[in-house]
């Protein structure tokens, strides 16, 4: 399991692996927003948590199809399926690798990009924590979506359509927690619910992802 994890990490960090791509996309979206809504500081400060969350979510979405694409194309996914490692573990490991190479960097970068949006700095720790927890959930959910569309050649758009509605609860609770922290209100409830969704996803979705991978492998055999 560890070997698979490290291998995926290395693949992602290599050129064309998508590691920098997510961060660059995150930056671009955040930079675009003021051009769209105007440079007024108060407006930006108010929408900053939401914008950062949405931008991070979209950036995470961007690299989802890589999770299985390479292994599918060269046949190593079929090999992984026959290995002693259960496919459920493979799915979880790949989701974790995606999180480490995409979600975590996004979460860490968010408070700094928030400066561009006049983000209230007091809220930065909450932003960081919610994004760390949330992007793990997004990676696990996204892995399920990637498994569904793994056999399709132009599956990217369909992947987005399938995954984005699944992202809504995480987005709602994550952004709400940051907003409440910004208003000085207790944010424990949304934070807990966010954690609950991520934990539940980690516990249950790998089974769905594995089932779906088996279906696709069988269909392509």
């Amino acid at each position: 399991m560890k070997a698979l994890f490290l291998r995926d990490l290395r693949l992602a960090v290599r050129a064309g692996g998508g590691f920098g791509l997510g961060l660059a996309f995150f930056l671009i979206v955040v930079v675009l927003v003021p051009f769209g809504v105007g440079p007024e500081t108060e407006v930006l400060r108010r929408i900053a948590p939401g914008i950062l969350w949405v931008a991070a979510l979209l950036a995470a979405l961007l690299t989802l199809d890589r999770i299985f694409a390479l292994d599918w194309e060269d046949g190593s996914l079929a090999l992984l399926a026959t290995s002693p490692l259960p496919l459920e573990a493979v799915a979880l490991v790949k989701a974790a690798a995606h999180w480490v190479t995409t979600g975590m960097p996004l979460a860490v970068a968010a408070p700094f990009l928030g400066i561009l949006l006049s983000l209230d700095w007091a809220v930065a720790p909450v932003l960081l924590i919610t994004l760390l927890i949330g992007t793990l959930g997004l990676s696990v959910i996204g892995t399920f979506g990637a498994a569904l569309t793994v056999g399709l050649r132009r599956g990217g758009l369909l992947l987005s359509l399938l995954v984005l509605p699944l992202y809504v609860p995480t987005l709602i609770f994550g952004a709400e927690a940051v907003r409440r922290a910004g208003d000085g209100q207790p944010y424990g409830t949304p934070l807990l619910l966010l954690g609950g969704i991520t934990l539940g996803a980690c516990a249950l979705l790998p089974f769905a992802s594995a089932a779906v991978l088996r279906i696709n492998l069988r269909a392509s055999a």
């Binding site: 359509l161 509605p165 809504v168 979705l205 279906i215 269909a219």
Partner: protein, 242 residues
């Protein structure tokens, strides 16, 4: 391969062909009675004026939008567990109706709210949940269309329906939480249809029954179509190998 690829589908088509005229007729009757009664022969509401008449379309379509998804969930489970092809095809057939019902619920809900909210759309928890449901329907249909192998398509969409159902329920609670966070309370929800008097309730029940019959007729017809399409594909495959 046998004469028909599957035994059950032949019986289903026979059943469908026999039932559809009756169910359609009943649906037409119920809808005509319900809608005409509701539109022409009910009074206006004290607060909402004549917009209360939209209830005869909004409530049935909203109920159908949700119940059709539940039916799809059950059909997907039956496919995954018992491998009844008819079940998988029925789920796909139902989805086509469900997406239209969801659209109708969204449109009528938005229009109904316009005089009260002053805007053509409001992020009311109910409407927002239906918008998310609409996206789920779209994704489900898109996945069916994208996968070539029919059995794989049935399997994948069934799993999607399962996972989607869990997230749909999650979203419902999340959206309620999200809207309540606006400190506006539940004032924007359209629960005028709760505690409504008999004057409105009777034609409404008839409309709901009409919509259910319409759905039944449509799903019978559409599933039979799906089965026939599979049959055509099977025959053409056989001819190609011969």
């Amino acid at each position: 391969m046998s004469f028909w690829e599957f035994a059950n589908p032949r019986r289903f088509i026979a059943l469908s062909d026999r039932l559809v005229p009756w169910v359609s007729g009943l649906a037409a009757l119920l809808l005509a009675v319900g809608l005409i009664w509701g539109f022409f022969f009910t009074p206006d509401d004290f607060r909402q004026g004549s917009t209360v008449k939209i209830i005869y379309l909004h409530v049935p379509s909203a109920m159908m939008a949700i119940n059709i998804w539940v039916m799809m969930l059950v059909a997907s489970l039956i496919w995954l567990i018992r491998r009844h092809h008819v079940s998988a095809l029925a789920a796909r057939a139902a989805a086509g109706v469900g997406v239209v019902m969801t659209l109708m619920a969204l449109f009528t809900g938005a229009v109904w709210g316009q005089p009260m909210w002053g805007t053509w759309w409001a992020w009311d928890p109910r409407l927002t949940s239906f918008l998310i449901l609409f996206l789920f329907y779209l994704g489900y249909l898109a996945l069916w269309a994208a996968i070539e192998d029919p059995d794989a398509a049935a399997d994948l969409t069934s799993v999607l329906c399962l996972v989607g159902s869990v997230f749909a329920v999650l979203s419902r609670y999340a959206v309620n939480f999200w809207n309540q966070g606006l400190h506006q309370g539940a004032s924007l929800s359209l629960d005028a249809e709760e505690n409504i008097s008999d004057v409105f309730w009777q034609p409404l029940v008839i409309c709901i029954a009409g919509f259910v019959m319409l759905f039944l007729a449509l799903v019978l017809v559409r599933t039979a179509t799906e089965i026939r399409l599979r049959r055509i594909a099977a025959l053409e495959r056989r001819a190609a190998h011969a």
